[in-house]
Every structure is written in C-alpha cells, then in structure tokens.
C-alpha cells in the first residue's frame, strides 16, 4: 500500500496532479450549482417584484 | 449621394484618410507618444541587462518586437475611442457606405501614423542593441508587415472594447495572444536579417498573415464596432 502511494518516487508530482484535477472537477460542480441557485432566486425575486407591481 | 458606388467608396475612404491625417496633425503628441514609448522601452533593456552589444544583439529581435507590439497597443486605444465619443463612428455606421471599408480606411491611416514610423525607427533603435545597419532592410520589411497585421488585429479588439471601462488593459489582453504568430514569424525574420541570413521564408509567412488579416479583420472589426455602439 505504501508502495502504491510512493509511486516509485514520483509521488510528489503525481498526487498533486491528481489533486488539482480533483479540485477542478469538484469546484466546477459547486460553481455551476451555485450559479443555478442564484439565478433561480433572482428570477423568482424578479417575478415577485413584477407581480406586486401589477397589483396596483 | 455617393452611396455604394465604387467611385463613392473610394471617395469616402479618401475623406476618412484625410480626416485622420488632419486630426493627427492637430494632436501631434498623440501620434508621437507611442513612438517615444518604443524608444524608451528599447533603452530600458540594456540598462536592465548589460551594455555588451554582442549580448544585446542576441536578444534584439525580441526586444524590438515586444517594444513595437506594446507601442502599437498604446496607439490602438485611440483608433476608435474618440470617434465613438463624438459620434463620428455612428455616422460611419449610418452613412450607407460599407462600414468594413470605412474602418479599413481608418486602420490604414492608423498604420501610416503608427506602424510605419515604428518600422522606420527600428533600425536606429537596433543600432543601440548592436544590430548592424546592413540588417536594416530585413528588419524594416519584417516590422512593416508585422505592424500592419497588428493594426488590423488590434482594430478588432478596439471595436470590441468600445465602452468598456479601462478598456485599454483589456485590449492588450485580447490582442496579444492573437498576435503570437506575428511575433514568432516577425522576430525570426528579424533574427535572420541580423545574422545575415535570408529572412525570405519568415517574411513570406508574415506576408500571408498580413493578407489573411487584410481579408478577415475589417469584417470582424465592423461587426465589433456595430455591437460596441449599441
């Protein structure tokens, strides 16, 4: 198991590479979902604003 | 009116050119500043590196080209900005003349006022970097073609960044990556000229970029300006 992580001495380069890729993958999922949630909230807010305006 | 007849188009282009010339003569500082910048930047390199001409000659192609690039970018900020502010650009769009053609005329004027002087200055600045005057024709040929393509490329970015706050920095960020081929071929041609070899191959490549730019860039610039003026 230790040998697996040591990767014959390349560990210092290999695992950070995989780590940054993993970070990018997760980050983009989070960013996308947040963007969608924000856009939904904004759209609903705009809807409520418009409907309350027309209620005059 | 002189709508889209060929004679009318030439007349319109000439009017644009004349206007650019007149405006430049009224504000000579604006025309001279990029040239002064080119000189100053070139002078910085020996000071920042070494006074040894042999070593400077080795980096001269890069220094001259980066300097010319940056100086061109400075000048590009003014290509459309003032005309956009005072409404002239809108008049061009509404005029019934081909906007592509009018913008090309502006770009030609811009090159005559910036790229051409930079090209003529380069051999002398090169002397300061240890470049022999025998290389002057090669250096100038490369820079003439390169600055021409740069003016064309830059017109696209200038159109796109109309109305963007601090558009000058963005303009540089947009234009420089697109200018990489020009830089690569141009610096190589200059390098060959300095060493005394024939730069023809690289000049042909530069030339093909210039032609490609001439055909496509004005169209993109016109589209960009139309969008920018909305």
């Amino acid at each position: 198991m230790k040998e697996f992580f040591a990767m014959d001495g390349y560990a210092l380069f290999l695992w950070p590479s995989y780590l940054i890729t993993f970070v990018a993958i997760i980050a983009n999922v989070i960013i996308a979902r947040r963007a969608h949630a924000t856009a939904r909230a904004e759209a609903l807010r705009r809807l409520d604003l418009e409907s309350s305006e027309t209620r005059v | 009116m002189t709508a889209t007849t060929p004679a009318g188009s030439w007349q319109a282009a000439r009017i644009v050119l004349q206007r650019e010339w007149l405006l430049a003569m009224r504000r000579p500082a604006q025309v001279l500043q990029p040239l002064a910048f080119f000189a100053v930047v070139t002078a910085m390199f020996p000071l920042g590196y070494t006074p040894e001409l042999a070593k400077l000659r080795a980096i001269a192609p890069g220094v001259l080209w980066v300097g010319a690039l940056l100086a061109s970018l400075l000048a590009l900020e003014h290509l459309f900005r003032e005309d956009a502010t005072d409404g002239t650009l809108e008049q061009y769009v509404l005029s019934g003349q081909s906007l592509t053609w009018l913008l090309l005329a502006k770009t030609i004027a811009h090159w005559l006022l910036t790229g051409l002087p930079l090209t003529l200055m380069a051999p002398w600045l090169g002397v300061a970097l240890g470049v022999p005057l025998s290389a002057a024709t090669g250096v100038m040929a490369a820079l003439a073609l390169g600055t021409w393509t740069l003016s064309l490329l830059g017109s696209i970015g200038a159109g796109l960044t109309l109305g963007v706050r601090r558009g000058g920095v963005l303009l540089s960020l947009l234009t420089l990556p697109l200018a990489v081929p020009v830089l690569v071929f141009g610096a190589r041609a200059t390098e060959l000229a300095i060493v005394g070899d024939s730069p023809t191959g690289a000049l042909y490549l530069l030339g093909s970029l210039a032609v490609l730019g001439l055909t496509l860039a004005p169209l993109a610039a016109a589209a960009a300006v139309r969008i920018g003026l909305e």
Binding site: M7, A24 | I156, L170, P177, A224
Partner: protein, 246 residues
Amino acid sequence: MGTNWAWFHRFGSPPHVYRLAGLLTPWFAWPAALSILAALYGGLVLAPPDYQQGEGFRIIYVHAPSAWLSVMIYAVMATAAGIGLIWRMKVAHAAAASCAGIGAWFTVVSLVTGMLWGKPMWGTYWVWDPRLTAQLVLLFLYLGYIGLRSGIDDLGRADRASAVLALVGVVNIPIIRYSVEWWNSIHQAPSVMKMEKPSMPMEMLVPLLLMFLGFTLYFAAVMLVRLRAEILRRERNASWIREALR
C-alpha cells in the same frame, strides 16, 4: 421546402432547453462519474509502469484529458457563440457563456499537470515546448473572453461582443498552434512529452480512453447546469419561469 427545421428552432426556445437540460444532466453526470472512477482504477492500479517513465507516466491520465477538454470546450464555445450571433439565439449565447469558466479551469489544470509532469522528466517546471506554450496562449484567450464579458454591463451586448471574440479566437488557434510549433522546431528546444498512443499497450490505453470519455461526459453535465443558470439570467418574460421553477 421539404426540410423541417422545427427541431433546430426548438433549441432556440429557452423553456424547452431549460427543461431538456435539467432532464439530461443526470444522464451525463452518473456515467461520467463511473467512467472516471473506472479509469482511475485502471490507470493507477491496473496499468503497468511505463518502460521509460516508470510510475510518473500516470500523470497522463489527468493531463491529457484536461488538455483535450480545454481545446474541445473552446471549440464548443465558439460554435455556440457563432450560432447565437448568426441566428440570434439567446440560448446559444447562454451556452457559450456556460463553457468559458469550465474551459479556463481545465486549461489551468492541463498547465499545472503539464508542469508537474515536466519536472521529473526534464528537470525544470517549465519548458517552452509547443504543447505547453499553446496551452498557455489558450489560457490567455479564455481570460480575454471572460474579461470582455465581465467588462460589458449589458448582457446582450456582452453576448454578441464575446461571440465575435470567440470566433476570431477559434480562427486563430490553428495559426497560433502552427506558429508555436514552427518556433519550437527552429530553436530546437527540448522535445515534447511523448506518449505515443498507438504504441501504448491496452492496459494503459483503455483507462486513458475511459478518462477522455468521463471528462467529456462530465463537461456536458456541468455545462448543462450552468446553461440553466444562464438561460434564467437572460429571460425577462416571466410566464414559463413560474411554471418551471415551482
């Protein structure tokens, strides 16, 4: 005219695309996850070490797919932008906007993993080899696109201006690639990290292909989520939104 273009124009309908994107996302997301996990196992555990590069070659399993994504995403972005510009489709512009951030991220990943691959191979973190240099220029192209978008306040104008930029960029990319390779060959810089794909044994190749597939599916899934957000941002007309969001 016999051809029915209705299917194409339905893609111009924001509510239709919004719903479709929502339905499709899990169908991309789960296969993506499976593919990537399988590829990870295959690449890290099953594949034998390389003859020359030992265990170090395994970086290819994250570097190559990232580089592929960075270029492919730009192409998708430019295509969507072009469609938006020519057919005046807001949805297409929304699609282009959805691509930019993801593309930029993976360009950075390909650069970083490229550097981490290069250090044990060539001894330095950075080498001006054609592939890395081209990736660097691509990153600048992405940043320029994103910068232009953020610099223009009006969303419609930002869409159209950045569309022109994306199209100019995509035309330039082959030229830039060629010039960088030309530049590199003249100055005989150290050679590229060569992993000849055809000569790779199956145990090495299959995980790599799975990774490519997984990354592509992943991009589709994430892009669809962002697309939904971008569509909502561009919709003024309220009626379908109320239905779709409640």
